[in-house]
């Protein structure tokens, strides 16, 4: 069914808000596209994110727009979320999304993915986890890693802002050593958790550490990660989306911060398993990338 659920009942068309009509008429659904979706369509088409309720200039909001623009098949994509700043955006996403508890996102996604494969064996249904670093690496680490061990066919995207932002700026496992945050009043005592490396050793077929400074690069990683997860096994994206509020930057300084970190804590890391590499090559030849 997929795309059909966005078709508006003609009886209600008159009273529908414009953004809902736009979803039917002007959004980039994979079924209607000749080429893979991407950020290039953002200026001209209806986005799957309708505004958002994050702080002005928050890089997380930009990153979410890139992610949504690059989903290979949004009409058959379920996004599982967790508690935090990301959950503030979820009511604004025009897809089936789940917010369940704080930290259990990869467990919920495992159940959803397995049942969708059971119920719809003929349809490619993608399940994407999108959560912050507290949810992914601290409270939910067990469930994140266990879903990798079990080789669940899901993509996990961590919006790593290196802090518990929504609760007021506390240290997380992803905070850099020495950084002063709440609950670490004399500075963090241990190193930033190398989650992208843990993902690799835990069985992810595709693991990337990057910032959201380059929209096209984010879109490419999202597309590749989801296709690999669909066909081969778990994939992980760690994307730096700084909390400008907690590190004292202005609304227009997020991009600069990400660019700085491209050369530092978020220097490019990319692991692709041999199976995933062969598969991605095939996808490219077939025009799926």
């Amino acid at each position: 069914m997929g795309l059909d659920i966005y078709k508006i009942n003609p009886e209600f068309r008159e009273i529908m808000p414009q953004e809902i009509i736009d979803l039917e008429e002007k959004a980039t659904w994979s079924e209607k596209m000749q080429k893979p979706r991407g950020i290039k369509e953002l200026p001209e088409t209806k986005e799957l994110l309708e505004e958002h309720s994050l702080c002005a200039g928050c890089p997380e909001a930009a990153a979410l727009r890139y992610v949504l623009s690059a989903l290979p098949k949004p009409e058959d994509t379920v996004i599982v979320n967790s508690t935090g700043c990301t959950s503030l955006m979820f009511p604004h996403i025009a897809l089936h999304t789940v917010h369940s508890l704080f930290g259990n996102q990869n467990a919920v996604a495992s159940g959803i993915k397995r049942v969708l494969d059971w119920r719809f064996p003929e349809t490619e249904k993608d399940v994407v986890v999108l959560a912050g670093d507290g949810a992914t690496v601290d409270i939910g680490l067990d469930y994140t890693l266990q879903s990798f061990f079990r080789q669940e066919n899901i993509t996990t995207i961590c919006f790593d802002n290196e802090v518990y932002a929504n609760t007021g700026g506390q240290e997380s496992g992803m905070t850099a050593k020495g950084q002063v945050f709440k609950m670490a009043p004399t500075g963090k005592k241990f190193e930033k958790v190398p989650m992208w490396e843990l993902a690799t050793t835990s069985g992810c077929h595709y693991s990337v550490n990057m910032t959201a400074s380059a929209p096209k690069a984010v879109a490419k990683a999202v597309r590749e990660a989801i296709l690999v997860a669909r066909e081969i096994g778990p994939t992980y994206l760690n994307i730096y989306t700084p909390c400008i509020l907690e590190i004292g930057l202005s609304a227009n300084e997020g991009l600069g911060e990400m660019k700085d970190q491209d050369k530092d804590r978020f220097a490019s890391y990319k692991h692709v398993s041999p199976e995933a590499e062969a598969f991605l090559k095939k996808c490219k030849e077939e025009g799926r990338l």
Partner: protein, 400 residues
Amino acid sequence: MSKRSDMTNTHNWSGQKLVSTDHLLFEAPRTKHFMTGSEVMKEAIKRCTVDASVSYPITPQSEAAHLIGELWAEGYVGVYFRGENEFGVMSEVAGCSMAGARTVTTTSGPGTLRAMENFAMWSGTRAPMQLCLMARGINSPLTIQPDNLEVQYLLETGMQIWYAENVQELFDMTIAAFTVAEKPDVHVPIVTVVDGFFVSHTREAVMLPDDDIALHPYDPYKAPLPPIDSEMPPGRFLRDPFVMKSNYISYATHASWQWEIRSAIERSRPYAEHYLKGLVHITGDEDAEVAFVACGTASNQSKEAQRELTKLGIKSKVIKLRTIRPFPEQELLEALKGVKHAFVPEFNVVGWLANEVRSKLYGKCDTEIVGGPRVGGGMSLPAEAILKEVMEKVNPGKGA
């Protein structure tokens, strides 16, 4: 492995003929078997066209969880795997249920508390899965004694709670539980409780219908909330947290939603009455002045005490509660008419059932509610302990 697409209008994916719950429970011919609770759990699940189950080891429910795995290997259950711990498992089954699967899992004692945060989320998302709780009490000290303390923690999670006395009831309740939980006007999760060991490990005679028939599959498109499968409008949709909107409407919605879940449990009453043949079962002397209010194995022990009291010339009756949520208040009030002393024998130390009975009946009946005896997981609640409690009340100072 089976494929769901093998299902036809008349048969499920494992080739069993689809029948109504009434047929399976009340009409299909039955034959006698000799089985443990764990084994009968497998027989019940086998006849329920179950899509998904996730398991984790903990005594005494492990065997039931293994046997569901065997059903998966035999092609009766669609999705099955071992989760990482009970918190993970209860989240995984939540995902299964949200994605439109008829879902079951099992747990015991400490696992229940480890998973706790999930249960309120299950009911909040109106996920109609079944949890079979094989009660064993809660550490510390480490216990696998007969105890059902963990049930107290589930009382206000927004789930239906049924309590089976024996192996036969476990079989019938498991089938009825899916049916009632999935009614569109109910559609909240359900816990079927049995006492660990006494029911899970005890072999009893049990009457079973043939295994070539099974329940019709769960239809997620009749649910009050759309399943998370990208197959049903609205496309723009969030399963729960209205709090994200941060305005008056969000608070009002949150409050009304919580009332709605409690109302959904209330709406399960007529269905539970039908499939369980009453929310309470009464045995003994109708005009008794002494009554026992109990559930599970405690009601079995109470029946033994009731027979002993008859020999002593004291009339008594046992009021067995089959549902705790919804609580059978009217039925209990009716059954307590003319009763002077009602005893609530329990395996747990806190007396959660006595507290329930007291709070629900407060100001509505003159019966004295005596909370006890309680064995606190220390022993098997012998009839003598129950008799002693009764005799001290009806014949003070003279003993049994």
